[in-house]
Symmetry: C2
Subunit: 331 residues, 2 copies
């Protein structure tokens, strides 16, 4: 059995209260007794029982993370960031995966909320209202999106799209296709908006081809429609979609970047390995997880400041140019 605070107290010849204080409020106890306690702690390898502490303090030292799909490399990186940062603060992370089922989110968060101090929620599809309802149960920080009234960390999609378009326009492209992700996805909306602005500012033209699943298959499905637009370049919702495009274009004998330039978003590991290697807007994924944790812990430590209004984090993407973009073909 693990040592309890009483064991330590007995060994050090003091009361449990003193041990407790020696550990959490060192200033309140005499240096010599503090040393005796420290020695006893050391000797017994004592570590406070978190459940017992949580019972009285109301804090569990644990946060939750809810993501749509752990097998998606984007969310895996996010999780890695959350996890690393949490450990740095000596906070444990419950990870839950909704299996891309937005309906499961509310229930999951509710179940988690009893066991954690707060949750980092990655919910690209839920509406603002649904999120607000979820946030009733516990302290929530959104990640990879924003919603009115809730704290969150998101990417500046407008800026990322501007970089992509500037790159393509500089290469001589004038007509740019856009393969959107799920219509309800926050990122789809913001990227589409950013593209329209950027394209307009640079006197180019946007050819949206609709909404597709944010997957390899989605990209395969979109490819022929992209070709039909007559665009010389295409921006895909994310890298998985872009890689799907690449595959279908290849099998149709369309050269990338000779006939068509392709740009993705995310910069997942796979993008570097694609053929041709994918030009993409790199999003700092782990960083988003880290910041979300910082935001959450800050809110928990200081609920007053949290009440003043939701805090936000904003992250910027960076265009990584590889081999899937090149000069527009001379017609």
């Amino acid at each position: 059995m693990a040592a309890t605070i009483r064991d330590v107290a007995r060994l050090a010849g003091v009361s449990p209260s003193t041990v407790s204080r020696a550990l959490s409020l060192p200033g309140m106890v005499n240096a010599t007794t503090r040393a005796r306690v420290a020695a006893a702690v050391e000797q017994l390898g004592y570590e406070p029982n978190r459940a017992a502490r949580g019972l009285i303090t109301g804090r569990t030292g644990t946060i939750g993370l809810v993501v749509p799909d752990l097998a998606n490399p984007f969310f895996a990186s996010l999780t890695k960031g959350v996890q690393a940062r949490a450990r740095h603060h000596d906070v444990a992370v419950f990870v839950a995966d909704t299996d891309e089922d937005p309906a499961a989110e509310a229930g999951l968060v509710r179940a988690l909320s009893k066991q954690v101090d707060g949750v980092v929620l990655c919910s690209p599809r839920a509406s603002d209202e649904e999120l607000a309802a979820i946030a009733q149960d516990t302290t929530v920080v959104l990640v990879n999106r924003t919603a009115v009234g809730l704290p969150g960390v998101a990417y500046d999609n407008e800026d990322g799209m501007r970089q992509a378009v500037a790159h393509l326009v500089a290469l001589g492209h004038r007509r740019i296709a856009w393969v959107g992700g799920p219509a309800t996805s926050w990122s789809t909306q913001h990227r589409g908006f950013g593209l329209r602005n950027a394209v307009e500012a640079l006197r180019a033209e946007l050819a949206p081809v609709g909404n597709f699943a944010p997957t390899y298959e989605g990209g395969m499905a979109a490819a022929d429609q992209v070709v039909a637009t007559g665009a010389t370049a295409v921006v895909a919702y994310n890298d998985l979609v872009a890689i799907g495009l690449l595959a279908r274009l290849h099998s149709r004998g369309i050269s990338v970047p000779g006939d068509l330039s392709v740009v993705g978003v995310d910069d997942i590991a796979m993008s570097r390995m694609a053929r041709p290697a994918l030009t993409t807007v790199r999003l700092p994924k782990q960083e988003a997880g880290r910041i979300a944790v910082e935001l959450l812990l800050a809110m928990l430590d200081d609920p007053d400041s949290a009440a003043e209004g939701p805090k936000h984090g904003e992250l910027h993407g960076e265009l990584i140019v590889r081999d899937s973009t090149g000069p527009a073909p001379q017609k």
Copy 2:
């Protein structure tokens, strides 16, 4: 504030003990009072506080999962499986990522062990002795490997390699190269062993080219050595390595499968998207996570049976033939 057992008791007009029993030992309480309690629970939305329960029962209802790298799709899938199965049993999962640092494992498990009932440990590199030491702290189930004296779930690597070799030999290959992963990795050892046996049984010849990092870069680094062996086919430690091979072979102008056939192991999502699509031994990754959880929970529910000797799970791979393997070239 959340409702406590006392609130429920008051509303139902019974004592807290009765409420507790009505929920956990329904047989012990009268049907009508049980109904009254149930109604009160419903009305208040009561859920027992796990920390409080854990304090007295000694069970936290939580397990830990330690993996080398969440961003590696193999481990991500594993995590997904663990997580799904645990939720099915209403058990929460702490996920921790060692960032490929085997030295961190022991510390992590020790830290986790105070907060969980047991841990699923994925530690490909640690020695049997190190694992035994770690298992002192808490109930441990290994995954993706075995070690004497410890329960675990692992793949039948010999069988997987046999399938791969049989496929290659049927295609006319006689000299098969083998790109190993980290020398200390359990899977490297078992796959190498399985290959030697299979090759011998089928009167072919094995050309090992040494040990490489289990990554895309590792595969790139191994490619030229593979070519130098004069083999007409190569089995790679895993899919990432195989995809690295593909990339380097492509840039050297070596045709796959025309000049050289390539086989991977794992069947990660990326393999289907590689060019050519990768022939690989598919390992049921989520299944491994699920079984590990079942094993762990069974040990926790019935410590006696656990003492009888470690239980093991064994999973089989399945050869998925795609486009990276073909008939051996006529010399």
